[in-house]
């Protein structure tokens, strides 16, 4: 009985996500047909694009690492009901500080890498924590502040690469010098880009599972259940908002560290790209659960890598992936309705029938 109960529980937990993905893929297929293409061929090309050789498989992980780290960070804020939509900015601050440590600190390699990690974490944390503080202190809407801080980070990065941090030997292109080879994370496969950052990501995933079993995680979750109930339970909401945003931003900072030491090795404009917004969708699709986030981050990176290759090699436009992503967003938004009505009553009915 407990085993089947557990299975029901797990199914119940992931069923909405699976339903949403299936719905998005199906609606995507309908759109492909309307556009006059063959949906099966398109999805086949997408899967081939993600898995047909070792390089592409490694790319799916390369992409998943920063997305997962950022989504884990976002989940901390979201569980607290703080809508941190500026993960991209926190990521950017992480990249900047990593490169600053690597280029200017002149320390031996190992201390440099560790210090770069710490700086990236603290930088991202402060960037997120600032929005948290503004909310706690002035009740400033975090959607606005995190978004604005995202812009500030983007422009700060642009200023740095066009100005003080521009590579002196770079012929004036807006980019910093590259970090030394010894500071780069070792590659895990020959010819691919998959790097040791994977282990950092796995470690963070395990830490996150532990985090949600900690009293601090409980406090953050409880505060997310409403101001009144958490105050009633003796929690200092203002403090918790700041702590949640510090951690949330810190994880995006680590994602930035990861991309500098594993992929880019230097600063350029717009390194964060659209990671910030994709990570939000990943966090929500993963139901703010650390394992769910890891799975949905991987799913999204398969979509992205597969979609890019599909576009490159078959000419089916990448917009397909954009559409699938967009549909998932729509489904995620309507999930509350989904969850409350059909799915839960479906399972409840099942259960009662089972009992009776």
């Amino acid at each position: 009985m407990p085993v089947s109960k557990k299975i029901i529980k797990i199914t119940q937990a992931i069923f909405p996500a699976l339903l949403m993905v299936a719905g998005a893929l199906l609606s995507g297929a309908v759109l492909i047909v309307i556009a006059g293409n063959d949906p099966i061929a398109a999805y086949k090309a997408l899967l081939e694009g993600a898995f047909s050789n070792s390089y592409r498989i490694s790319e799916t992980f390369v992409k998943a690492i920063p997305l997962m780290l950022m989504a884990q960070g976002i989940s901390i804020a979201f569980k607290n009901q703080i809508w941190n939509i500026g993960a991209g900015g926190q990521f950017t601050i992480g990249t900047i500080l990593s490169v600053v440590v690597c280029l200017y600190f002149k320390l031996p390699p190992i201390p440099t890498i560790i210090l770069s990690f710490i700086f990236a974490f603290i930088g991202g944390a402060l960037w997120g924590g600032l929005a948290g503080w503004l909310k706690a202190r002035f009740n400033a809407n975090e959607v606005i502040t995190t978004l604005m801080l995202d812009y500030i980070a983007t422009f700060l990065l642009a200023y740095l690469v066009y100005g003080p941090m521009m590579d002196p030997n770079g012929f004036g292109y807006p980019q910093s010098a590259v970090i030394e080879k010894v500071l780069r994370l070792p590659k895990l496969i020959v010819g691919g880009r998959l790097h040791a950052g994977l282990f950092v990501a796995i470690a963070i995933l395990l830490l996150m599972i532990l985090f949600w079993r900690s009293t601090l995680g409980f406090k953050i979750e409880l505060a997310g259940q409403g101001n009144d109930v958490s105050r009633y339970a003796g929690i200092n909401n203002k403090k918790i908002i700041i702590v949640a945003m510090l951690l949330s931003g810190g994880l995006s900072g680590i994602a930035g560290w990861n991309e500098i030491h594993g992929i880019h090795f230097r600063l350029m404009t717009d390194l964060a790209g659209s990671y910030g917004s994709i990570a939000i969708v990943i966090a929500l699709l993963g139901n703010l659960n650390p394992l769910g986030i890891a799975i949905s981050a991987y799913f999204f990176s398969v979509l992205i890598v597969g979609g890019n290759t599909m576009q490159n090699l078959t000419g089916i436009p990448y917009s397909l992936v954009d559409i699938i992503q967009g549909l998932i967003v729509v489904f995620v938004i309507t999930r509350t309705a989904f969850k409350a009505e059909s799915i839960q009553s479906f399972f409840r009915k099942r259960r009662y029938q089972h009992n009776g």
């Binding site: 529980k9 009293t215 409980f218 109930v229 105050r231 339970a233 009915k349």
Partner: protein
């Protein structure tokens, strides 16, 4: 109404219910919460569509597909939560959504005159030009009644109309209802208060679990016990008069306490009261007279503007909530859904939201789920919480079971002080009985209980001393065994021998 069946998902809210309303009568619809009373009436009012069954009005089969249809068939409904636009005047509210006889211009004057006429006829005492926010709850209710009559209703449905009224206001309402009956109108009174059935109703229909149990004429011989047995399905214990225990030392006291409300108006003024070990002090009062603010100040949730609070002899005013928790001040908040419970949490987590960081629920900053679950299992058993498992989401529990979760959490550690604000509001008879017995048990274990309630009967049944709050002020403290009328007068802001009416509380 014949053979009405209404299904929500898997739940049969009404199961082949027959309901017959005589002309010129007041008909009580009695049942516990969730028995299907409101559902049945919503079907009649066209808000829900029944799966099976027919509705006949004056012998004619009528298809009521919408409230508009219901209104045109002469059915009106006064909801529990008033549907009034607060900044507008009475006449403007009544005109809302109605065609004007003057085309695009408002016919305010004409409607106002008509309203005045109706108001006089039934002694509703409503000024058409008063703004809603200026009116007391009882007056607002009369506006709702007026609206339905103005729309031509012959059949009035009143959903728990006395839930928000003082005994005096309720009596006024009942006399209005009687007058309307004598004038040829029929009324359906949804209620779970047995006293109301006995005092005002001609016929009563009892629902339980969606089924019609019985329909009978109310005669002087009808007893509460008889009705409650039909309603609950078993005997219910009434009048459990508390055993007098000699109160011990003072556990909580407040001196000249003043508190402001969310709008920054003065809500509690110069309030002084104390509760001792092993004592229940009832604090009676009509809703919105500062009870919520007082309870929050006494648990650290709201700053005090002035005055002192002592908990177990310690100065406590304006200390953070966690201080009160650690001093053993338990709190059953008025708003159990947004303050008392984390609705999205499962039952086991809700049972530890104040203690989760302490042994045995956590060690070294990590939660011990096994101990939390074991604790929940014990509480579910001890407090008879109906739930499938310890991991059920609290939102999915019924109101009574949600309240039991709060009780279990607050009473588990034998609190030093218990602030219980409206602990039985909205609960059915069975759950109410259970909550009250637990309050008495807490008292006998030595807790100092401050029972805040608008239910005079509850106050009288449980309290060792009875304090009354009106407009944020302590009106007086009455001994045990005081008459409801005396308490009711104080609740209205009238002191004994004080004939001049006290200023209305806006």
């Amino acid at each position: 109404m014949r053979n009405i069946t209404k299904i929500f998902g898997h739940l049969k809210a009404n199961d082949a219910v027959d309901f017959k309303l005589r002309e010129k009568s007041i008909h009580g619809l009695l049942g516990e919460n969730g028995a299907g009373k409101t559902t049945l009436m919503n079907v009649l009012y066209g808000l829900y569509r029944q799966e099976e069954g027919e509705i006949y009005i004056h012998g004619q089969k009528t298809d009521i597909s919408s409230p508009l249809k219901a209104i045109s068939s002469g059915i009106g409904m006064v909801h529990q939560h008033f549907m009034l636009a607060r900044p507008l005047t009475v006449v403007e509210n009544i005109m809302l959504g109605r065609k004007s006889s003057r085309g695009i211009f408002l016919d305010t004057k004409k409607v106002a005159a008509e309203i005045r006429e109706l108001s006089d006829k039934y002694h509703l005492m409503v000024d058409p030009y008063a703004r809603i926010w200026q009116l007391s709850v009882g007056e607002q209710q009369r506006v709702e009644i007026l609206t339905t009559i103005y729309q031509g209703a012959n059949i009035l449905i009143l959903d728990e109309p006395t839930a928000v009224l003082t005994p005096q206001e309720a009596e006024t309402l009942f006399s209005i209802l009687r007058q309307m009956r004598d004038d040829g109108k029929s009324m359906i009174l949804i209620t779970h208060k047995l006293e109301e059935i006995l005092s005002v109703v001609d016929d009563v229909t009892i629902l339980r679990d969606g089924k019609m149990i019985n329909s009978l004429k109310v005669t002087p011989a009808t007893t509460k016990e008889e009705l409650s047995r039909l309603m609950v399905g078993r005997d219910v214990l009434f009048d459990f008069y508390p055993v007098a225990v000699k109160p011990g030392k003072e556990r909580i006291s407040m001196k000249n306490l003043s508190v402001r409300n969310d709008k920054d108006f003065s809500a509690v003024r110069n309030f002084s009261l104390s509760v001792a070990e092993g004592e229940i002090v009832g604090l009676a009062g009509v809703d919105g007279n500062g009870q919520k603010e007082l309870a929050e100040a006494l648990t650290g949730l709201r700053p005090a503007e002035g005055g002192l609070i002592f908990i177990n002899g310690k100065e406590a005013v304006n200390k953070p909530p966690v201080f009160y928790i650690n001093e053993g001040v338990a709190h059953i908040p008025e708003d159990r859904q947004s303050m008392g419970l984390a609705m999205g949490f499962c039952v086991s987590k809700n049972l530890v939201i104040k203690r989760f960081y302490q042994q045995p629920y956590a060690k070294n900053g990590l939660l011990n789920y096994k101990n939390i679950k074991d604790h929940a299992k014990k509480m579910i058993q001890d407090f008879q919480i109906k739930t499938n498992s310890t991991e059920d989401i609290t939102r999915d529990l019924s109101g009574g079971n949600q309240q039991k979760v709060i009780l279990a959490r607050e009473l588990a550690d034998d609190p030093s002080v218990l602030i219980a604000n409206q602990p039985t509001r909205g609960l059915d008879v069975g759950a109410t009985e259970y909550v009250r017995s637990r309050l008495l048990e807490a008292r006998s274990k030595g807790s100092a209980v401050l029972l805040i309630s608008a239910d005079i009967e509850e106050i009288i049944q449980l309290s060792d001393r009875i304090a009354v709050i009106y407009n944020g002020e302590l009106m007086g403290v009455l001994p045990k065994g005081s008459q409801p009328e005396a308490i009711g007068l104080l609740m209205m802001g009238k002191r004994q021998g004080d004939n001049a009416s006290v200023k209305e509380n806006y």
